[in-house]
Amino acid sequence: MEDAAISLSVTLSGFELDNPLIPASGTFGYGLDYLDFFDVNEVGSFAAKGTTLHPRNGNPQPRIAECAGGMLNAVGLQNPGVHAVIRDIFPALRNVYHKKLIANVGGFSTEEYAECARLFDAEEIVGIIELNISCPNVHGGGMSFGTDPRTAASVVETVKRCVKKPVYVKCTPQCPDLVTMCRALEEAGADGLVLLNTFLGMRLDRRTGKPILANVTGGVSGAGIFPLVLQRIYEVYPKVSVPIIGCGGVSCAEDVIEMMSAGASAVEIGTQNLIDPLTIVKIRRELPERLRELGVSDIRTITGRAFR
């Protein structure tokens, strides 16, 4: 079988991607910082930096710590606000990026989520709205919406009334019953799920014994969380009928195949981009060969193969 015969295309709620590789929100800015490394049109799509209705400065320093198998961040949703993103960044992005992006929307109230999503919904460049009810690094918002199914469902219902584009919900592993959460989100009208955001964690300074991160806690990401996320996808996939975008610790082509086999229709890649900015390009080059070894000609067919 020739590589040319191998299809990497996937579909997410009618939104066509020529490959399933999506840089995860918070690791790709608004796409422009990777122009130094490659043509950003190589990505299937990308999840833009978590954006809120109003500008946010984020958390004080330090925001980054390291751990075996990954890192912790406590950036705290620093962003210029949805109006500035639409007015200042999208025009520049349209000159270099000709696909659609996934708009990651953060918020501190249901109304804020809805208004921010409504503004993104009107933008041609936006393909999917990703509701971030899972950021562990802000207080009184983010993750607090993502741990109670009724609260989360209410955010989705409100947002769905304001937008036409597909709404995906990025869930937090801190949710005590993820299956119940995901079913509640589907019932509330979510078009898809993004599993998962970072795991709550912390590090202490070895000299002082005090937390390294100014925010005390941060979100753990990187290769070390891959098996944890894989298990959650495997658990949720048979219980929902909407597509799942897998997210957590993917670092290579084999990881993409494994995560899709557990039930993901596409894969977000985060921390590995920060370590190697060419990760997406390298995986895209390698995927056809890995699929060929498995006798697979269409990547869509591997989604959920763990259950067949």
């Binding site: 690791t27 370590i275 900015p277």
Partner: protein, 245 residues
């Protein structure tokens, strides 16, 4: 263009009690401006380490690094083989005009990124003065190297009751355009006594090093800035010291 370089370790030697110097030969030619930095992948560790470039001479990249934790300790112990390096990163210093005057003020490992600037200034026939401070004479870096260059260099040691501020005052250097890098407390004190315009090079824990993750963003007088991409060099007056402390 930022490039991922495969670099061969030509030399890695200890410098004083807690520093080391790496000489790296890149597989391809690369232009690095004085004050820019690189991110070095340390085998066995997740994140690349941001390290300022001391200078580049005949295609050999020189890095001077302080052991700050396990990652830099592992790097200090790696004496041969190759390293993956992302370069060049950040903005770098404004290079002085031909025949102008430059004052380089450095503290501790913060002296390292000033070396490339000093060498560039010497090439440009500038009148160069370097005022470097360390805790003890044993920790002094670049002392012999600077004494071989046509410039005036001064070393201050805390153990001898001196620091860069007392030296700058004694020599009456407050009116010379400057470039400074060192501990935040030192840079803040330099900012207080200098009359001339200048630049400061800052540092921070970083995620990516190329502007994507916002891990090193700090509030400045002109809004939120990424130390890795909008810096690490900032014009005097831009940084808010309290956000860096």
């Amino acid at each position: 263009m930022i490039t991922e370089l495969n670099c061969r370790i030509l030399e890695n030697r200890p410098l004083g009690p807690d520093c080391f110097q790496l000489l790296l030969e890149a597989e391809q030619e690369i232009e690095i401006r004085a004050g820019q930095f690189v991110k070095v992948a340390v085998p066995g560790f997740s994140l690349r380490r941001p390290i300022s470039v001391t200078d580049v001479e005949d295609g050999v990249i020189r890095l001077t690094c302080q052991i700050a934790g396990k990652g830099t300790a592992a790097l200090a112990a790696k004496r041969n083989g190759s390293l993956s390096v992302l370069a060049p990163l950040g903005n770098g210093f404004t290079l002085p005009e031909e025949g102008s005057e430059l004052l380089a003020v450095g503290g501790g490992i913060g002296t390292a990124p000033l070396i490339g600037l000093i060498r560039e200034a010497v090439k440009r026939n500038c009148r160069v003065s370097a005022v470097f401070g360390f805790r003890t004479p044993q920790q002094a870096l670049f002392r012999e190297e600077l004494s071989a260059l046509p410039l005036r260099s001064f070393y201050a040691f805390e153990s001898e009751g001196e620091n860069v501020i007392t030296l700058l005052r004694r020599e009456g250097y407050e009116n010379i355009p400057f470039a400074a890098c060192g501990p935040v407390s030192m840079m803040e004190a330099v900012d207080e006594i200098m009359q001339a315009d200048g630049e400061f090079s800052a540092e921070c824990r970083m995620g990516c090093g190329f502007g994507a993750c916002m891990g090193c963003s700090v509030e400045t007088r002109s809004g939120m800035k990424r130390i890795c991409k909008d810096g690490p060099v900032f014009r005097r007056g831009e940084l808010l010291w309290k956000t860096l402390r």
